[in-house]
Each structure stands twice: as C-alpha cells, then as structure tokens.
Symmetry: C2
Subunit: 449 residues, 2 copies
C-alpha cells in the first residue's frame, strides 16, 4: 500500500499552459567532475530531465532548453531519452546566462518561466511563482536553509518587491532562488543590457530595476531548493529529495515512526544504483516471499523462525522504498501504485500461510489461518471497494491508530522473533477484524443518502 | 457483486433543471379496487412515488402534483412519505385531465412536462421527450408493445409532427404515450378549450392543432411504458419492470443465462412483500451463511453435502435479487452496492471454509483452502483496486467468459451435489487464479503511460 495514496503526484496539472518553460543549460559547469552538469544524475534523474519533469508537473509547457557548452552531449541525451523539449543554441553562452535567457525568451515568444538546469525545485515552488501577475517576478528565499548563501545572489525587498539584487549586498533580505517568470518585454531589457556589454542574468534584473520597472518577489520560504554546483551539493540535494519523499508517506504509524528512518537510506542506495520504482517494488515482493519461505522453515528450526521474522521487517522497510524512489525521482505513477497494492495482497497471504506452516501446520493452525486470511484481505478491500464505488477517499476511521500493512508485518516479524507463530496469526486475524470494523463504520455513515 | 455496476442509476441527472414536472393525479381511477390509483403499489413503489422518482432521475424538477379525487388520502401519503412535491388542487377535476394540466401548468409558471400518475415510464423515455425544443411535444409510440391499444389515444404523424390525435383514428401511426413537454402558451390553449367546454387533455392537443400550431412527436418506440388502469395491467407492469431489472444485470454468464430466469420471479415476490433492496441483500447473505453451515456438515453426512450444494445455488440466485429489487423499485444506491460487495467477500470465504471442512478438514484440505481463499479474494480486489486507483472501470478482460461470483458459486454448488468438496475447492482456486490473470493483463495494458 505504500504508494497507493500518492496518486495525485502522478497527475499533470496544466493550470497555466500558456507559460513557456525556459531552462538555461548553456553554462560550462566546471565544478562537477563527471560530464556536463545538466546531465549529472541526482536521485535517479539527470538534473536537466528533473528540471523538465518539474516544470511539466507544475503545468509549464512547451519547454525550451538553451544549450551552449557541451551541446552535443546534451543533444545526444535528449535524443536518447526522448525528452520533449526544444533545444535552442546560444552561440555566445560565454557572455553569461543573461544572454541564454535572452535566446530562450526569444524562442518562447510569449510569457516564459526561466529556471536553471542545475537548480532543483519542487513543482509546488514553480506553481507558486506562476501565480504572480507581474511582468517580471523573481522567486526569492527569505529563509534559505538548503543553499550556499555565500555563493548566492542576494536581494533586498520592500513591500513584496525586489529593490536591489547583487552577489554582494548588505543589508539583504534573502537570496535569489534562480526561478523567474517574465513577460516578453524582459527580453528587450536583456537586449539593452547585452548591448552595454552586460551578459549576466543578474545584469538583466539590475537593468530592469534601473529603468524604474517593478520586479516582483515571490517568497519560497519553506520550500526546499538546491543550487547544485559541487559534488557535495549534489549529494546534499539527493539526500534532501529522498528524505522529503520519505516524509511524504501517508501510510501507518509503523512506517512513519520506525521504517522511514531506515527506508530513506535504502531508497538513496536504490536511486544511486539506478533502480526504477517498479524494480524496487519487485525487490520488495521477492524479499517478502523469501521471508515467508524462511519463516515457514520455522517448524523445523527455531533459528529460521527468528531469521524469518527479521527478514519480514526488512521486507516491510523495503516495501516503503518504491514510493520513496518514485517520489524522489518524480516517477510516481498510478500503474506503480496498482502493481504494488496487488503484489502486497499476495505477499500478505504468503506470510500468513508461512506462519501457519511454522506453527506446525496442524488443524489448530489452519483454523486460525482461514479467518486471518479473510480479515487481512478485507482490510484493503473495504477501502478499495469504497473508493471504486463512491469515487472518493474512504473517510478517516473512528480509531486513528490503523492496523494497516506496516503494523501487520511488524506483528508477523515479532511473532517470528518471539517464536510464537500461532499467537502471531491469531493477533493479525483479530486486529484485522477490528480494523475492518474501524473502516466500515465511517464508510457506512459517509455513504448515507 | 450483483449490484456493483449499476452505480449510474443512483445518480440524479439535472440536465434540464428548468423544466417543471406536472403529474396529473386528480382522476377518479375507478377500475383499480384498492384505494386511489396513484397510491397503488407497483413493484414496491406507489404509482405516484414512482412517477416522482422517474422524473427526478430524468432531471426534472421541481415537481407539481395536481390532485382532485381522493385528495386527502394523497395528501396524507405525501406527508407520511416526505415526497418532495407541491400539491395543487384542481377543484374541477371532473371536467377532465385537460383542466388538471391547466392547473398544473399555471402552477409551473414556465416550461413544464406533463405526465399521468398512472403511467409507468423509464427515466430514459422522459429524458428523450425533454430533448425536444418544440413549444408543445408529445411522446408517441409507433410500436406499442405494452399498452392496451384499443383503449389508447391514437395519433397520425407527418414529418415528425402529430397532425391528428383522437381516441378513434383511422388510419393512425401510433399511440399517445401520455407524456408531453409544453411551453407556457399551452396553458392558454387549455384555457380556450375549457372556455368552449372541452376539459380533456386530448381537447387541448386538438385545439392546438386546430389553431395551426406545430405539435411535435417524440417516438418512444422500443422504450416500454404502461398505462395502469386495471389490476391486470398493474400486474403486467410489475412483471415488466422486474424482468427489465433482471435483464439490466451486468454480471456473469451464470447469472444472465441461468439464475435470471428464477431470480426475477423471486424479486417479484420480495417486492410484493415490501422488502427493501438492503433487506434482500441481508436475506441473501444469511442464506449463504446457512448454506455454508449445511455444507460443512457434509463431513458427517453425504445428504448434508448435497443439500448444502443446492442451498448454495439458491443463495446465488437470491444474491442477484437485491439488484433487481433495487432497479425495479428505482431504489438502486451506491451504499447498497457497497454493502453487497463487502458481504459477498465474507460469504465467499465462509463457503470455501465449509468445503474444506466438508472434505474432512485434513491437511490436504487446508493446503488447498489457503490459495483458494487468496485467489478468490484477489478477483474482486483487482477490479476494485484498479477502479479506486485510476477512477475508471476495469477494461474488459482478454477472455470474455469471466469466472466471477456467479460461476464460483455454481462450482461450489456442483461440488456439493457431486460430493467432491476437495475437488471443488481446487477448481475454484485454479479458475480464480486464471481469472486474476485474465483481469490483470488488460489492467496492466490500460495503465500504461
């Protein structure tokens, strides 16, 4: 069930489709050692791909990518991955990213959003900037918590406007987050700045201010974003993304209070090894079946029972990784959630049968197994059936402590470690029955009329 | 699952909310012996209540009911049942139903739909008439199959218009179905007809034609409707409604080709006895548990096994009655469908456990039971989970012969009658597994991208 509730993350919102995305990917990016910076993989996705996907999820499109340095590699990457973007070349990229914004803005031909290929944002931050009606609006961060403030461009604010912007600025109210939304006239300001020999993006903002125009500020305070310049920053961005993905879990208490602190580290490993979310789902399912096999041997050997119990908890932790990997790599999908939930049902049943076998497989074990299997299957069925029938989420249960899959697997793991398979089976069955009642009561009330 | 797919029937469509419904319930209705005709129960609902519900489901509202004869009884009934209608008295109802249409049309004050309290229509027929843009449109039936043509008003048609309307008409092209949609000006035509001493509804149509106005015809050909004048017609309407409700089933082959021919007769009995759909669901569930109990005794007595098998098939037939009763009495609800599907899961499990017990409850029985329970639970889970996740129906499976609940219960029943509980369990498990694959394959394809 770990990926079940995240469905909204897989849906593309196209709130403002008229805004073109302009991703600046022309700089030289000398500080990251392996290949061009836009192609650096961070949490399973190249920075450029991540920027494209972030804009797409925020409803921005079409998307223009301005290239210069390492344009052949980027072109090859875009062709190989089938990324839906228009590549535009800035032959004078050495003049600065202001010239790249100019080239991108010209290609856009209408209102556009400028972002840097080496900046990692969440789609919500992009959506927030898009809401500004100003001719030129800058995303700023008055509480920068994740970037290198020393290296960042600073801003001074007054009444929600930027009044000064520069690398060195004292006093200052925040930093420039590297995300802006611009009307076409910003292109002309960039042209005038360039005509005076100023090719940086900061110079365009300064020129705009010098011309007495309003530069609106949209404060991202609270939303994490990272400017990836060094390998250390890449690693920091990766950890940040995976931990945020782990916090995004909406499943039970055991997941949130226990498994999460281990699962995000595993998810980081999976991402670095290049696993897709569905591959991680498969690994978790395989581990569950393996744990069930070891647990079943518990009838012969107490050590197998204990080992099986430990493996069950490991499988439970890995069960949460698919969703974390999916969210961190912007690959959450309904299909993945569906695959996960069907495999979870098979895994649940395998573990319960294993407990019965571990308990010796006698009549008493089978008599406890049958209702436990039924009750365990009913818990997710009540939810799925309610949602399928009424087309809305199951209302929150009366007792907030839910006996979901994470708690079920913990009970099974403890039953193995404590060498009490039959008692574990009985507890799972009884608590599942209570959980069925706990879900049915509000479902029944909510379905009135 | 019997009521699961009918969800759309419970949803009120308000496509044309500006049309007021006018139900003529003022006539004396002398030919039905028990009480006023509008209160005669047909398939679980009083004719008046059924007319109101039909209009409501077709999106007509608010609703005006014109009363005259037996107005106190109708008033009491409306108060007791909380029917949301405005009662309007026609003191001169003896002048004819044209005078009642006049009173109702005046109360409506805008475009209105006229129907008779003693006519049974399907909501689709009402929706069809509502689509006419004409100032005055009549529902006609060029292929009357369910009414007494001798008694009916005939119409002559030309280019989709009614050119003549009368009780005696030769040649004629069809009959007047007693459903019309009218602009307020029809009220004035009724006033002029009445001023000349013509109080019938037919006189209003004739006057309209005599004034050279267009009377549009909407052909209901194919849609069943009944004018309930005699006890025989009431019984015929009842049978028609229940058989149509039974044909409306969308479940498996066993239901449609076998159970339906018995279930509609049982549904008729349930409706006549005044059972609600949920009560019938409860009866079916109780019968399933009883059948499981008898089946389980099969370990002791072969006769119990055979009796249990027969009871299972009876329970399967009754399982379809709740949906038929709900549709025939216009009481289909999502809540009922949800209740039904959750109880079905418990009933399924009880029957499988009963088969295992009947097989002697030995290790071999339990080893076959566990996967059978899991596979049986997965069949509906795959569907519910797909629909909950994607918010759309599960695509049709590759193999059209589905192994749903109806087929499952037939196998269990045959296993009982053939005294082969273990083989039955194995067959249910194996076919359910195949059905899971049969549902997963198209689900997986449909979830791409």
């Amino acid at each position: 069930m770990a990926r079940f509730r995240e469905k909204v993350h897989g849906v593309t919102e196209r709130a403002l489709p008229e805004t073109v995305g302009v991703i600046l990917a022309a700089g030289s990016g000398t500080r990251l050692n392996h290949g061009p910076k836009p192609l650096k993989r961070v949490a399973g996705r190249a920075l450029l791909e991540r920027a494209v996907e972030t804009l797409r999820l925020a409803g921005v499109g079409p998307i223009v990518v301005v290239v210069g340095h390492a344009k052949e590699e980027i072109e090859r990457y875009v062709a190989a991955t089938g990324l839906e973007v228009e590549l535009v070349l800035n032959g004078d990229f050495q003049l600065g990213n202001g010239s790249s914004a100019l080239v991108g803005g010209r290609a856009a031909g209408r209102r556009f959003l400028v972002t840097m290929a080496d900046h990692v944002f969440e789609p919500d931050a992009v959506r927030k900037v898009l809401t500004s009606p100003a001719a030129f609006a800058l995303a700023v961060d008055t509480r920068p918590g994740f970037c290198d403030v020393e290296e960042a461009t600073k801003v001074r604010l007054e009444d929600g406007r930027v009044v000064a912007v520069a690398r060195q600025l004292d006093p200052c109210d925040g930093v420039d987050a590297g995300l802006a939304v611009c009307d076409p006239e910003v292109v002309f300001a960039a042209e005038r700045a360039l005509a005076e020999g100023e090719g940086s993006w900061n110079a365009v903002k300064q020129r705009w201010l010098a011309e007495g125009r309003e530069l609106a500020a949209v404060d991202l305070a609270g939303s994490p974003w990272v400017d990836v310049d060094t390998p250390a920053e890449a690693a920091r961005a990766e950890r940040l993304l995976v931990r945020r993905a782990a916090r995004g879990r909406s499943d039970g208490l055991v997941s949130r209070r226990l498994n999460r602190y281990v699962s995000w580290r595993l998810s980081l490993l999976f991402l670095r090894a290049g696993f897709t979310p569905n591959a991680v789902t498969g690994i978790g399912f395989g581990l569950t079946l393996f744990a069930a096999g070891v647990l079943a041997l518990g009838a012969e050997s107490p050590a197998a029972l204990v080992a099986g119990g430990l493996l069950v908890q490991l499988a439970s932790i890995v069960d949460g990784c698919d969703g974390e990997v999916a969210r961190a790599s912007l690959r959450a999908s309904l299909r993945g959630a569906f695959l996960d939930t069907v495999l979870d049902r098979v895994g649940d049943a395998a573990l319960l049968v294993a407990l019965a076998l571990a308990a010796g497989g006698g009549t008493s074990a089978w008599i406890v197994l049958a209702p436990a299997l039924v009750a365990t299957a009913l818990v997710p069925y009540v939810k799925a059936s309610f949602e399928a029938t009424f087309g809305r989420p199951l209302p929150p249960p009366a007792v907030r402590v839910r006996f979901g899959r994470d708690a079920r697997l913990l009970v099974i793991a403890l039953a193995g470690v404590a060498m009490q398979p039959l008692a574990g089976l009985a507890v799972v069955g009884a608590l599942s029955l209570l959980e069925v009642a706990n879900r049915l009561a509000p479902a029944w009330r909510a379905s009135a009329g």
